[in-house]
């Protein structure tokens, strides 16, 4: 494995890892607020589920970038 491949792997890992951290942080905050809201208004379950799922896009986009790094650049390298 040459150094370029290693750097590509680190880049891909950072793309998905940092996005996952951001998603986790956002979901943690939404989750705690949502749990509080649910005790008061259980009928908000659907809306809170949507809000909780929204930040997941971040990690999926991070994953898309990581996949592109590996599949496109990796294959080219």
């Amino acid at each position: 494995m040459d150094i370029n491949t290693g750097l590509l792997a680190i880049g891909a890992a950072l793309a998905v890892g940092l996005a996952a951290l951001a998603t986790g942080w956002a979901q943690g905050r939404i989750g705690s607020a949502g749990a509080g809201a649910l005790t008061e208004k259980p009928e908000l379950f659907g809306s809170i589920l949507i809000m909780l799922a929204l930040p997941e896009t971040l990690v999926i986009l991070g994953f898309a970038v990581a996949a592109m790094i590996i599949l496109l650049l990796g294959a080219g390298g």
Binding site: G46, I50, L54, I60, F63, L71
Partner: protein, 639 residues
């Protein structure tokens, strides 16, 4: 689909209102609307219950509460599940008959059931206290064997922790100061933790001695009154005798309660249901309009039930009660309550749609689309024959043994998800990861979800997402054309064209389409952005390109179908590898089974959440118009 609704007005003589409400409630197809909120025709004031009706309502409520207390102690005489059938078939009484029947039942049932319940409670309380006494007396007995219960003297026994036994000496001294030599104390350490003591003292000093114990925070054991005057040995024997009699006595009370239940439970439950329904009828009167001689009732009901209501009212109340269907404007129709009516296979998904919001009346019901795409997405994520089979098994067992509607709906959804998981499992050749390949050479129909072959999987996920999102836009465009919403049409058409253009250009860049097609792609993108920017006003020039990026990210979001699926596949592989690493076959099997079970559990949760999210966040906003109010017909309570 949404059930087509009609707005109806029912007019009749006031004295027929009770009978009319009874018929409407029995049919259970009309949602009564407050007459003053109805915008058409002359304003009619609301009817109010007269003093007699109010008194009857209060009396029914009171009688219902009393009946409830009796009914709770009765043992059901038939299976409670068959009660609704009987209630539906029973004829209804008028209010006076209802009150008379309730009073009759309370008179016939009340004294006997109260007496039985009191007797049973008393026996149970006696049993509990005797068991407590017995345990303590057994410990005290060696100390106090054959102490006679002397007339004029009281005996107090107590058990205290051994380490606190020094307090007994102080009690003895104070007792001496209180009653002189006229007392006796016997103390013995029973075991390593407990010390027992017996105090005998004149009965007339009982209050002072008890106060003394109170000051020392000691609670002596008091024997039941009926055992006074006997020795402790005799007391213990009497207690054992009584304890052996009590279960029989309780059983005989239970038999009597069962007999009482067989005679009355059925009548009580039916009468309670009818009383609840009568009170509900009286509450509805407050929404009905009235003149001096007539009542006017307005409400919404499914179009298909209007004729049935007309016939039922004509037959059971009389031809003079009129039912008119209103001509309702498009704007007012938006206020109509929403009832979903889908085929049985789609119906379980209705509650998943309602988790966010109900569609507005007249809008498109997304339930059938969700019933197709949600299990498909789930199956694409889980994609394993074995996991799918487990899901099918769990769903079948739930449908076989569970009666709760929610669980049955979930099981029906799980059945479809299991089916798609098996189908995609066959396509990807997965049976507990690659175990199927190793054990019985299972080959994928299309491709494996691993290594270098994941690129087509990503492309497939994105293509599926693009198709799903474009379908959403097409439905949105159709919806906008139907309601002649120009802004919505321009926005949705713009997004639709822009999305196609972006993928067109991506295909050109990837070399899938020839370079000559770049210009048409750019032109289409510009047309899309322009159309999208029109409803946004002067900010459109900035916001429309950003919106276009948002739509692309919507489509990329479908990558999760591949990403979560891959993680599930690799966890299954870890389970299989751990089996190979373990030195002992049994240990390896247990570890692999546990990991596969964990993978299945995680897979079910994450696949469900991801598929739901793709619908709620990516798909619905393209066409879904929320804001519907659930249809709540005025109907009899479920027994």
């Amino acid at each position: 689909m949404l059930l087509p609704m009609s707005k109806v007005q029912i007019v009749g003589f006031k004295e027929r209102l009770e009978a009319t409400l009874r018929v409407i409630q029995r049919l259970g197809t009309l949602q009564v609307q407050d007459v003053t909120e109805h915008g058409q025709g002359p304003m009619v004031p609301r009817l109010a219950l007269d003093a007699k009706a109010k008194a009857q309502r209060d009396e029914i409520n009171l009688l219902a509460a009393r009946l409830e207390s009796f009914a709770n102690v009765l043992v059901p005489s038939i299976a409670p599940t068959s009660l609704p059938r009987y209630y539906a078939a029973a004829t209804r009484k008028n209010t006076e008959e209802l009150i008379a029947e309730a009073n009759h039942l309370i008179d016939a049932l009340g004294p006997k059931s109260q007496e039985l319940v009191l007797r049973r409670d008393g026996l149970e309380a006696e049993q509990t206290s005797l068991i407590r006494y017995q345990a303590t007396l057994r410990k005290v007995l060696p100390l106090a064997a054959n102490i006679p219960r002397l007339a004029g003297y009281e005996i107090l026994a107590l058990l205290i922790e051994r380490r606190s036994s020094a307090v007994l000496e102080s009690v003895r001294q104070k007792l001496g100061e209180l009653v002189g030599d006229n007392f006796d104390v016997n103390v013995r350490h029973i075991d390593e933790q407990t010390t027992a003591a017996i105090f005998v003292f004149p009965k007339e000093r009982s209050a002072e001695v008890n106060a003394l114990f109170g000051q020392q925070s000691i609670s002596p054991l008091r024997l039941p009154q009926e055992l006074a005057g006997t020795s402790l040995t005799d007391t213990l024997a009497a207690m054992e005798r009584r304890l052996s009699e009590i279960p029989e006595a309780i059983k005989s009370v239970e038999v009597e309660l069962r007999q009482l239940g067989e005679s009355w439970w059925f009548s009580v439950r039916l009468l309670q249901a009818e009383m609840r329904d009568r009170v509900a009828q009286m509450e509805v009167v407050g929404m009905v309009g009235g003149t001096r001689y007539a009542f006017v009732l307005v409400g919404w009901m499914p179009q298909r039930n209007v004729e049935d209501l007309k016939k039922a009212l004509a037959q059971r109340v009389g031809p003079e009660v009129l039912v008119n269907e209103f001509r309702v404007s498009r704007e007012e129709m938006k206020q109509a309550p929403v009832a979903l009516a889908n085929p049985p296979v789609v119906r379980p998904f209705e509650f998943l749609v309602a988790l966010t919001a109900l569609p507005r009346y007249g809008a498109l019901d997304p339930t059938p689309l969700m019933a197709f795409f949600m299990p498909l997405f789930f199956g694409l994520i889980l994609a394993d024959i074995a996991y799918g089979l487990v899901l099918l098994l769990l769903a079948t067992l739930t449908l076989r043994y569970c009666r709760k509607r929610l669980y049955r709906s979930l099981a029906q959804i799980m059945l479809l998800c299991g089916f798609w998981s098996i189908l995609f499992g066959i396509i990807f050749g997965e049976f507990l990861g690659t175990l199927g390949h190793r054990l019985f050479h299972l080959e994928p129909l299309w491709m494996e979800r691993s290594g270098a072959t994941v690129k087509p999987l990503f492309l497939f996920a994105v293509a599926l997402g693009a198709a799903h999102v474009l379908l959403g836009f097409m439905l949105g465009i159709w919806q906008a054309l139907r309601v002649k919403g120009r802004k919505e049409l321009s926005e949705r058409l713009g997004k639709f064209i822009a999305l196609i253009a972006v993928f067109w250009l991506a295909a050109v860049l990837a070399g899938t389409l020839p370079r000559d097609l770049t210009t048409p792609g750019i032109v289409a993108l510009i047309i899309g952005i322009v159309l999208l920017s029109i409803p946004m006003g002067w900010l459109g020039g900035i916001l429309a390109p950003l919106e276009t990026l948002g739509i692309v990210s919507n489509v990329l979001s479908y990558l999760r179908l591949a990403a979560i699926g891959l993680s599930s596949f690799y966890l299954a592989e870890v389970a299989n590898e751990l089996y190979g690493v373990a030195t002992n076959v049994a240990v390896g099997t247990i570890i692999a089974c546990l990991l596969h079970a964990l993978n299945l559990a995680i897979g079910i949760v994450s696949a469900t959440i991801a598929s739901l999210r793709l619908h709620y966040v990516e798909f619905f906003p393209k066409f879904f118009e929320s804001g519907g109010v659930s249809f709540r017909p005025f109907k009899e309570t479920e027994v």
